[in-house]
């Protein structure tokens, strides 16, 4: 028997959802017109006023915004409320130069936590459950989002945060955790560790809610089998709110977008044209209930498909596929956003040539990243120690820029494969998007 956190919303008719969206969009556009100079300027450039937006059908008239806009407006440029009304900030897992800060009023936090609560209930959560949250807490939205959702459902919440696997398993067995929330790669690692310690029969997990990075169906089956649970996907991004923008139901064939809060569109990433349902393209979100940090037609760069096919779970909100790729060159490694341009910057700063290759792989369900750099005469010296020291400096430089450890490998000049005269910068061996 399917259960819902907010059945009257989650199972509302398509007409009702559209009516909510139209009403909220009109209000939101009026709001940003009045309170966010950038939106007003962009609308004026297109000859638009709020009067041109009468329903959700008019959404496509509005200009897009993207991550560069967020960066340009950092930190307060996109705030639609006075700071005194804001109670929280969260920030992207991203890194130097690309950090994005999102603001929340108490109302925003409530709605975000509702979205997470819907995901937990869809995964079978009730107030009888022990919800074990080992997403990172802090600026990262994973921990705070699921933590809040878990409270709303009434679960006993374990705010474990990430790391310290020994303690995770101890609490899991001692306190009988039933729902696990973390990244899929950490779930796979925990599963391995639980099997290694021979304590599988002492854990009571029944479900997992795994997100913040791409994962395959194979990985899902692996985790489900090892832990004896159902593994559900959850999607979100800090810019829009955090986890819970969409979530999987019992059917496990895509994630229901919380359409009463977020309008999803699929566009052609080259032309910006809105594509019909079922076509693959870039996912664009408009947050229609956000007070502090509303985004209108925000380009996620995730390539997805939307589907309005009737879902056996009874929910009526549109379903999005797992992201099938990116329309930019961003990589997500260990849950952290990595742009090749950041790696290039470090190489340039340290005097290396621009001939490099990034090899991303997944070893024992954990991401690895290796940067291969072609040696140059300037960087070379007769002393092994001096070359090894430069290599170490590069490792530290990358760690500072990316926030994660990247292995560095110095290779012979001209040894990095070039296709049609252009170097292949990224080799992702994980096959996450097949």
């Amino acid at each position: 028997m399917e259960r819902y956190y907010q059945p009257e919303i989650e199972c509302a008719s398509q007409e009702q959802i559209r009516a909510w969206q139209s009403e909220r969009l009109v209000k939101q556009v009026q709001n940003v017109w009045e309170n966010v100079p950038m939106y007003r300027k962009r609308m004026e450039e297109k000859g638009l006023t709020p009067a041109d937006i009468q329903s959700v059908d008019d959404l496509r008239k509005l200009p897009f915004i993207d991550k560069d806009d967020l960066r340009d407006q950092y930190p307060y440029g996109l705030l639609a409320r006075p700071l005194k009304d804001c109670v929280r900030i969260q920030s992207t897992s991203g890194t130097t130069g690309r950090r994005v800060v999102a603001f929340y009023t108490q109302h925003d936090l409530d709605l975000w936590e509702d979205c997470c609560a819907r995901a937990i209930v869809a995964a079978g959560g009730t107030n009888e459950d022990v919800c074990h949250v080992c997403y990172g807490y802090g600026l990262f939205t994973g921990g705070p989002g699921l933590n809040g959702g878990s409270h709303k459902v009434g679960c006993l919440t374990l705010p474990m945060s990430s790391g310290n696997t020994e303690r995770q398993i101890q609490f899991m067995t001692d306190l009988g955790s039933t729902i696990l929330c973390c990244t899929p790669s950490y779930a796979a690692y925990l599963a391995e560790s639980i099997l290694e310690r021979g304590v599988r029969d002492q854990i009571k997990l029944k479900a997992g809610i795994f997100g913040a990075e791409a994962w395959t169906e194979e990985m899902r089956h692996d985790i489900e089998e090892k832990l004896g649970i159902k593994a559900y996907d959850i999607y979100g991004l800090t810019e829009i709110s955090g986890p819970g923008v969409s979530f999987e139901c019992s059917e496990q064939t895509g994630m229901h977008v919380n359409e009463d809060h977020f309008i999803a569109e699929i566009i052609n990433p080259k032309t910006g044209e809105v594509l019909p349902e079922g076509e693959k393209g870039e996912l664009v979100f408009t947050s229609i209930t956000k007070e502090a940090f509303p985004l209108i037609r925000y380009r996620t760069r995730d390539i997805c498909v939307l589907s309005r096919k009737k879902c056996s779970c009874g929910r009526t909100h549109v379903k999005m596929s797992k992201p099938l790729g990116r329309s930019d060159d961003m990589l997500i490694v260990k849950g952290v956003n990595v742009f090749p341009s950041q790696i290039e910057t470090v190489l340039m700063n340290q005097g290396y040539a621009a001939n490099y290759q990034i090899i991303v792989d997944r070893v024992n369900n954990s991401d690895t990243i290796e940067v291969q750099v072609e040696m140059t005469p300037e960087m070379f010296s007769d002393s092994l120690g001096a070359v090894a020291k430069k290599e170490k400096e590069l490792v530290s430089g990358l760690k500072a820029m990316l926030g994660i450890y990247a292995n560095v490998k110095l290779v012979n000049p001209k040894s990095i494969a070039r296709s049609e005269g252009k170097a292949v910068r990224v080799v992702d061996k994980r096959n996450l998007y097949k």
Partner: protein
């Protein structure tokens, strides 16, 4: 008096050293001495050849990264205590040895130690004072 050594960057993986030696042999380059030092994923190969300029040209054409370093070649007799004496002189004078390796000569009971130190001039003077002979590139090749 010093000799010219060529240091070459090589990746530490199968066949790289084979490719390198094949490259030299293909151009008829005779090795007088070779030493291989390894870090985790790369290594430095140090060689001594007759015609340094030719060898460097060949290597650069083949896309190898290399550099030329002045190192000391010290005559050493094949007898107990000979090496200890040479190294002892460097130690007494506060000269640090970064690496060294040996090569044979055409002369009976005689070899050369190739030594890389932090101060060639100071080492040279110290050796001279103790009657230890260093040789130049052309003598090494005799």
């Amino acid at each position: 008096m010093t000799v010219k050594q060529i240091s070459v960057f090589l990746e530490n993986k199968p066949n790289k050293l084979a490719e390198f030696t094949a490259c030299l042999s293909g151009q008829g380059i005779d090795l007088r001495a070779i030493s291989v030092a390894e870090a985790s994923d790369f290594g430095i190969v140090r060689i001594i050849v007759d015609d340094v300029y030719n060898a460097v040209t060949v290597l650069r054409d083949a896309n190898y990264i290399c550099s030329v370093t002045e190192v000391l070649a010290v005559e050493i007799r094949d007898e107990a205590g000979a090496l200890a004496r040479i190294i002892g002189v460097l130690g007494e004078n506060g000269i640090n040895v970064e690496y060294m390796y040996a090569i044979t000569t055409g002369k009976k009971n005689m070899a050369y130690m190739i030594i890389r130190v932090n101060d060639n001039a100071k080492a040279h003077d110290a050796f001279e004072k103790h009657g230890i002979r260093t040789v130049c590139h052309s003598e090494l090749l005799k």
